[in-house]
Assembly symmetry: C2
Homo-oligomer: 156 residues x 2
């Protein structure tokens, strides 16, 4: 009964007529194992020992393909690198708290009920008022993480 959707991204690729290649398996394994929000180069570095034969180009291509197919989500947290994370089921919607100093990212998914409902309400209001079809939203908080606050204290 268990393990049913292990590597369901393989099916996604097949559905769309893409091939299941060795580089793609390797690159996706990074996301399955490490988690987090790595950028292209971080994936590349992570693979440099295990699979030094995979080019950075292929990593970029695979990441973009996976975003297009909904296998990965792409974020821009403002540090000049696109970042990616694996997209799980419907249940995994979450928001981010980003440190403006060191770029650390914390996820939070324990929304208050009122939070979820209010976002829906706002979304409906906006769709009607501005004739937009809203597909997604991002509620991100920016500030300083504990470490960066402490650092700042020390240096004053």
């Amino acid at each position: 009964m268990r393990r049913k959707r292990i590597r369901n991204w393989e099916n996604r690729l097949r559905e769309e007529g893409y091939k299941i290649t060795s580089p793609r398996k390797t690159i996706l394994s990074v996301f399955e194992q490490l988690g987090g929000h790595p950028n292209a180069r971080e994936v590349f570095n992570d693979l440099s020992l295990r699979s030094p034969d995979i080019g950075l180009t292929t990593i970029y291509r695979t990441l973009e393909l996976c975003v297009r197919l909904g296998i990965l989500k792409k974020y821009d947290f403002g540090d000049g690198h696109s970042r990616y994370e694996i997209a799980n089921e419907k249940t995994d919607h979450h928001h981010h708290i980003i440190c403006e100093k060191c770029s650390k990212v914390i996820e939070y998914r324990d929304f208050l009920d009122e939070e979820t409902m209010l976002i829906k309400k706002i979304q409906n209001k906006l769709e009607r008022k501005y004739h937009f079809k809203i597909k997604q939203h991002a509620l991100d908080f920016y500030g300083l993480c504990k470490e960066c606050i402490d650092e700042k204290q020390g240096s004053e």
Copy 2:
């Protein structure tokens, strides 16, 4: 009594020891007159007739300087160009609705009361839970604008 803070950005520059130069005046005038969220090249193009002698480099430098001094706000809406808008008084906090197809941006500032309060509440919760000092937030909605929805219909 009126016109008191016209060009209060000049004072901001002076306060910090920067010079009031002709390129800076011209670049800021674009924001005062046009509004919107132009990127560096759009400012450059807008000035190309009026002031063809201002280099793109200077525009980049002026925009970044103004962001540092709080005269402009900088946004990244995910289309690969940093965008800027003039920062007015406290009262002008607003959120954005962005078309993923044509990059059109709509601002909305008519927040529901519950909206404002809830954001504060969430922020407090997150600060305590994750030991962050939160400085700002962004609640952005992404989707398709009316024109891009219609276009899509037409081509099917």
